[in-house]
Amino acid sequence: MKEKYEAVIGLEVHAQLITNTKLFCACSIKFGSPPNSNVCPVCLGHPGALPVTNKQAIEYAVLMGLAVNCVVNEQSIFARKNYFYPDLPKGYQISQFEKPICENGHIEVKTAEGSDKIIRIKRIHLEEDAGKSIHDQGSDTLVDLNRCGTPLIEIVTEPDISSAKEAYEYLINLKQIVTYLGICDGNMEEGSLRCDANVSVRKYGDKLGTKTEVKNMNSFRNVERAIDFEIKRQIEILEEGGTITQETLLWNADLNEAFPMRSKEESHDYRYFPDPDLMPIVIDEKWKTKITSKMPELPKVRRERFIKQFNLPEYDAEILTSTKDMADYYEAVLEFTDDYKSASNWVMGDISKVINENKISIKDFSISPKNIGKLIELINNNTISGKIGKELFEELLKSNIDPEIIIKEKNLVQITDSSELENVIDKILSSNSIQVEEYRNGKEKVFGFLVGQVMRETKGKANPQLVNEILTKKLKG
């Protein structure tokens, strides 16, 4: 039954820009400040206070537009979006309507079948955030206006997304781009990235169905779940002969269900008009070129470079470039070793395990890239064995000091002196004469046991290849 239908989805994403100050005044946008401490006459909406636009916010919005292949409008203007709500003290939000800062871009995403699909971006506009209302403290609503005026970009797609999975992929890509650009921290849980979804379904070939808007999804997985839920809900209604009501639903992550918002039925009449307090923004070629010069290497390009330059499998490149911080860490390790693949293995393996277990960012990982690079070199030049390498890694976790000091202090240097190893091996052979006899009678498995004994005796420091060589020679001899 589901096969007859296709979903048509468009996403609206709000991304909080990481500027120092608000969009139209010089108050801090710092999260977690005491309530109503980062406010001034402009963001409090006092009569007569005049907004002045933050240049950095404009540049961030343009950078985003360029990163997702948009046209940057030469002229854009701010508009007032009028609505009444206590966390919006002016009675209007300064946003953009007719002439947004960027239009007509696209992002590529991987579909479930593994092919690339283009999701068109209709527009990117700048606007200010509202304050925060607290409803659950006593009989009144409390309002904190610290967030009021925080710069946001809203990124609106065309309805090109056709499944919850695709929406998820799009968001992951978007997060990667904003964090690579360093314009937003991309944290959905903390609300610095927010996503609303417009969802409708139709039978294949039919005209567009009635859409609903789903809000209040505060994680990437919840966006996927909420869209899946809404697609199923709409199909069920249609299959039972019903019709879809155009409405806004709020996702409840605890119940895994979306419920219609209990707001009064009032059609939104925002009465947009150009804000007379603000002059037009003109982005000429010169300014655009200057902003373009600040464009960092984007995830896709970096991924491809990793494959080419470091000869890495696609899988490695994908994981290493999944965050800018991880890719930066990896390249920092390569300042100290040329063993690209080992460096990749350490970063994707042991290091990722530690940061995932401790739920930290690789930026906060205690071992420096320099010491990881040195560790790899110490293994590669046979100073220590791979097994001791793991031990050294554990030691480095305890204290991030020069690995060479640790191996000297802990006496971890690999035994590559064959006369020293011969002594150990002679000792093992004489105390295991039964096993030696078994081996000589053709039971070759015993070889592994004898290697193990040598390793135990040397506390893992024996060079394994050398042990194999000497042991073979002595057993055959």
Binding site: A26, C27, N36, N54, P86, A130, L142, S263, P274, M279
Partner: protein, 99 residues
Amino acid sequence: MSVSKDEIKNIAKLAKLNLNEAEINEFTGDMNKILDYMDKLNELDTDNIRPLSNPLETYNVLREDELKRSIDREDALKNAPGRNDEFFRVPKVIKSDKK
């Protein structure tokens, strides 16, 4: 172009204004006079003229992203009709996630 009394009532509602019957009549008349004048202006051929969003000819009035001291909370809350030590206090509103 003209507006009806109902439209005036709706606009007043959106602007949180309470108008009595006499005022509604008065504003409907005023508003229609303004719109009649707009119709007069519309007789002008503006096909090849760029829309003007601001009568001043300046653009890019911008500031650098530098922090300045905000005002004290006490001052921020001073004129509020309702408050506690830290917050503005308003009649309970239902939860909705507008931005």
